[in-house]
């Protein structure tokens, strides 16, 4: 897929403020952004809209709900073709060590990267584009 083809990005985050900020920033870069505030709605929206990329918050209803959502998305035919990133403020400094480094983790997690909050939108776009190429 050519990076230029990425038009529509699905954002799922239960923090309304962060959701709005990322939506605004991505829109300013020319993307179309669709949003959901929980994984259930996120999954529905995914099926309905078939976005070109998905960015999911890690901790929503549960600690690992972002992982579960990404797992579900990556299991679909469409999900296999698009980049899926997980956003989290749970990082090494906060005591959680989430990473997708080992093969086993990659096999299970299936997401294409974990980004720490707050993420600069340019970095986010760079990651998406890197995935495409």
């Amino acid at each position: 897929m050519d990076p230029k083809e990425i038009k529509k990005i699905l954002l799922v985050d239960d923090d309304a403020d962060l959701l709005e900020q990322n939506k605004l920033l991505l829109e300013s870069k020319g993307f179309q952004v669709i949003t959901a505030e929980n994984s259930k709605d996120g999954m529905k929206l995914f099926y309905k809209e078939l976005p070109d990329a998905a960015i999911l918050d890690l901790m929503m209803e549960q600690m690992d709900s972002g992982f579960i959502l990404s797992y579900k998305i990556k299991k679909t035919e469409h999900g296999k073709k698009i980049p899926v990133f997980i956003l989290t403020s749970a990082t090494y400094e906060t005591g959680y060590k989430f990473s997708v480094t080992t093969d086993e983790e990659k096999e299970w997690l299936k997401c294409d990267g974990i980004l720490n909050k707050p993420v600069a939108v340019d970095e986010l776009i760079a990651k998406i584009e890197k995935f495409q190429s």
């Binding site: 923090d15 900020q21 403020s89 906060t94 005591g95 959680y96 707050p118």
Partner: protein, 493 residues
């Protein structure tokens, strides 16, 4: 010339009066205590009555033979030095007397010098015998002490909580206690077993490190091992080399300590810290995001939007502040449990003052408060601030999660030894699956109805901590969409 008084007691047994008296006088002149017997029978009797240092026994007496007197004395007091005297000196009698325990044989007649010389020799011998006996006794006592010490040590090792194992250089078990079996989760092994293969890998590695070292390592190596998964059994193993008397390596002693509880606490603590860090970072990220957006001219936001984002930043900062305050409360409470100010607390008064305290919030949402309290409830012994914190948190929730123009119903009454307080609201309620998690730290029910309500997720967990620290109980009852009832039971004593 003064005579040196000697402490030594001498017994003379002789039927011949002349010799008996002359000997006694001679020895008394030398300073000895002397007692004499004029026949064998008396000799036996006196000889049995106390221990003499020296006995001088005539061999031939009319009633009892001197040899018999000698045997008698020797059987009672083996360290008494006995001399046999006789005019009928013969080689055979000398041998027999010696065999029966005589120290010497003095042929009659003897000169005073001969007698004194023999007595002195005898006393020297007696001192040697006494010294030997003293040493023997001492040794026996020491051996007994060592045996006692060994069994005491063994009992101590068997009963201590730590596991103890000794493994020799062949990898064989040479000592263990039962705690070691328990901690290694091995059901049976016995002294002499090749135990090393059954050990956890970490222990094997350290054992090999110690036994393969070129020099004797005066050092203890420790390692932590998960014997059972999920923190069910964690041990710390400390391996120390033990030396032979010549300084060479004899084996390795392994001490196993159960650190399961410690590990569990450590885990809870680190999870709590992780959660706190995460909860602190989330609002900070939101504020940082808003500020970046406001400052980003390329986004061309209008003033109204900028103002909205500043206001939303302020809301996040306020919730951050609340969170920090709740965290401080929790840490204060942990100190508090040690330094409470216990007074008589009248629950109804606390309820009244809390309602007053929250008046502004109540008015803002036009929520009515309906109290149905039992008058003259007995006071409870508690820290006023802690009890007050319970009601502030519960009533704040009842306001926050209530609908506009809703109501709060508060009842209190006594039941046996408990005061029971119920706080019911007409708010959004709690889903059944969320009830369980409600008291978890940082847990907040997340759904479309709670998204605009700020909170730290610590309020109820603080309430629960306080209530339980007074041996009370807290229960939640709720119909989703219709309201929640929290019931608190506090013991009066």
């Amino acid at each position: 010339m003064s005579v040196e008084i000697k402490e030594n007691n001498i017994l003379i047994v002789d039927d011949e009066k002349g010799i008996r008296v002359a000997t006694q006088l001679l020895l008394e002149d030398e300073g000895y205590n002397v007692i004499s017997a004029d026949c064998g029978e008396k000799g036996i009797e006196i000889g049995a009555s106390k221990e003499f240092d020296i006995a001088i026994i005539d061999l031939k007496m009319p009633d009892v033979e001197g040899i018999e007197v000698l045997s008698n004395i020797k059987s009672n007091f083996p360290n008494t030095i006995c001399f046999i005297t006789t005019a009928f000196a013969s080689y055979d009698t000398a041998i027999e007397a010696t065999r029966k325990g005589a120290f010497g044989y003095i042929p009659k007649p003897f000169t005073p010098e001969e007698l004194i010389y023999n007595i002195e020799q005898g006393l020297k011998q007696r001192n040697l015998l006494l010294e030997a006996e003293r040493l023997r006794k001492e040794k026996e006592e020491k051996l007994l002490e060592i045996a006692n010490e060994k069994s005491r040590l063994s009992t101590i090792i068997k009963t201590i909580n730590d596991g103890v194992l000794v493994i020799n250089l062949n990898g064989q078990l040479s000592y263990f206690n039962y705690a070691a079996l328990r901690y290694l989760n091995i059901s049976d092994f016995k002294i002499g077993d090749k135990i090393l293969d059954k050990m956890p890998e970490q222990i094997i590695n350290l054992y090999q490190k110690i036994t393969s070292a070129e020099k004797f390592l005066i050092k203890t190596f420790t390692t932590q091992i998960d014997i059972l998964p999920n923190n069910e059994l964690c041990i710390e193993a400390a391996l120390t080399p033990i030396a032979n008397p010549d300084g060479s390596l004899a084996g390795v002693v392994i001490i196993l300590s159960n650190i399961t509880q410690f590990k569990k606490i450590e885990l809870i603590k680190s999870q709590f810290v992780s959660m706190v860090a995460h909860e602190l970072k989330t609002p900070l990220s939101a504020v940082q995001g808003f500020l970046n957006i406001i400052l980003d001219d390329s986004l061309k936001l209008n003033e109204e939007k900028k103002k909205e984002y500043l206001q939303r930043s302020l809301i996040r900062l306020k919730s951050l502040c609340d969170l920090v305050n709740d965290l401080l409360d929790i840490s204060r409470m942990e100190i508090k449990s040690k330094q409470r100010e216990i007074v008589d607390v009248i629950i109804n008064d606390v309820i009244d003052s809390t309602v007053n305290f929250l008046e502004i919030e109540l008015k803002k949402k036009k929520i009515s408060v309906d109290k149905n309290i039992q008058e003259s409830l007995p006071p409870i012994k508690a820290d006023y601030n802690e009890i007050s914190r319970i009601f502030i948190n519960l009533l704040s929730n009842a306001i926050k999660y209530n609908k506009d123009e809703g109501a709060i119903y508060i009842t209190s009454h006594q039941e046996n030894n408990f005061i029971i307080i119920k706080i019911r609201d007409t708010g959004i309620g709690i889903k059944p699956e969320e009830k369980e998690k409600l008291f978890n730290e940082f847990y907040r029910a997340k759904n479309e109805k709670t998204r605009n309500i700020s909170g730290t997720g610590l309020g109820l967990s603080i309430v629960k901590k306080i209530v339980e620290s007074y041996f009370g109980k807290i229960e939640v009852d709720s119909v989703y969409g219709y309201g929640t009832t929290i019931t608190i039971k506090l013991p009066i004593n």
